[in-house]
Amino acid sequence: MSQSSSLWSDAIRRLFKNKAAVAGAVVLVVLIVLAAFAPWIAPYPYAYQNLDLGASPPSSAHLLGTDVLGRDLLSRILYGARISLLVGFIATTVALVIGVSWGIIAGYSGGKVDSVMMRIVDILYGLPFIIFIILLMVIFGRNLWLLFLAIGAVEWLTMARIVRAQVLSLKNQEFVLAAQAMGVSNFAMFKRHLLPNILGPVAVYATLTIPQVMLLESFLSFLGLGIQPPMSSWGTLIKDGVESMEEYSWLLIYPGLTFTITLFALNFFGDGLRDALDPKTSE
């Protein structure tokens, strides 16, 4: 136990030394808090319209201005953060659960099971998933949960490969052999011995998956195939901003800025985490 905790405490120490990663983490924490408490923090409800006002530039009443329907942009960005971050976390969790179980089972079983399972992953890799997600959204309607699932179902492939590689390298180590000799059940083996040891790479890949997932969601929303109004994600806000950017450029700039800063924060944090957990890769 003391050994594993020192690995993590080393990693955390290294992480804290990495300024970009710390800055990323701070931004993320602030964003998550803002998103979670959006109903209390946001100055207006997200669908509240003030048609008399129309699109107005940033002012003291509306810090980031209002859109063409007179809706407060700051409030919509805060509520949009809920959707965008939720998509990021839920879809990544879906990917995590499928990918980790698939990888552990394939790697630990070995032999025929392994080669069949990994061949399936190879085949799925070759498929044009973005197009399939669009197809699913067209056929089954623009359902939020379907979106989460569809995106998650796409992103697990790399996770499965990473986990399998880790399990393969663990499988023949003495502590696993010892546990096998003592007759530990398969489930206990996963839980007690394999899972804790693959946590590092999995955590790294998960943090780097979140921005990809968020990009995918906003891409779909931008095309009009994702979140539907009056709900807003950052993708739909950017889409609305593009439509009226000639007259009201703030409608594009503020959502775009928020989204970009978030992606930066996630990428910096993920890179920092990778370097902290695996000092070999950082140069």
Binding site: P128, I238, V242, T260, L263
Partner: protein
Amino acid sequence: MLGIFLRRILLAIPVLIAVASITFFLVRLAPGGPFDADKAVSEQVLKNLNEAYNLNAPLSEQYFDYMSGILVGDFGPSFRFPGRSVTELIMTGLPVTFELAIYSMLIALFIGILSGVTAALKRNTFLDYIPMSIAMIGICVPTFLLGPLLVLIFGINLELLPVSGWGQLPGDKILPSLTLGFAYAAYIARLSRGGMLEILNQDFIRTARAKGLSEKMVVIKHAMQGGLIPVVSFLGPAVAGLLAGSFVVETIFQIPGLGRFYVEAAFNRDYTMILGTTIFFSFMIVFFNLLSDIVALWLNPRSRDT
């Protein structure tokens, strides 16, 4: 070596059949028929339409008809553009998208490799930091944000370049190609920097230097061949991203390419068009993945001997 190629090609065939079949049945799962969208048509008309498009035949028969049609490049008629076939529509949009993709890729390769290789050679100097910071921006700013921003700056504020279109006004191809190419330039810069750094530390580079080759020769002739393998492997999967990017870029800049046709078909629920383009895109993606795998294998001397 040849064995690996053959296995790859053989593996691609079931993938393609699976893609075509899954897409075919998914589209059939869609609620509602292809003709009951905006205007209600009389029962007789509907019957005739179904008759004309052979939709009353058993599903298995339709499936085999469709699959054998694909083999000869026939994706069936478009439901929304009567009298035009999906193949015809694809062929109208393809050259435009292809041209856009080529320009973007050329921009991406030129900027990406140049800055990546420079960054690796001048490691930890400002020639490394600046391009790599810009690359980080390129990765974090999505295409659908970059495009409108470029339009806002160069099209609307500075009035230097046209804001939309393709081949109608001079210079209207610049912004779309830049928008689509920029993200790839960023990825390629990172990949080529990483690949070059790895290669430059190896013994054969030291040998090349020791035997008195000029630095230029060492870099161009010895280091780049191996250092750029990650870039080549990236190009195949990049085609998939390029297609997705073309959906966005062609929508933003109102370019009459395949990407915009696809998005419009998705909105209009033009099922045969979606079906046809999806299968067509899949074929392209599988093909380019295969191609880049083969080129990467061929470039890598370690795998060449086996």
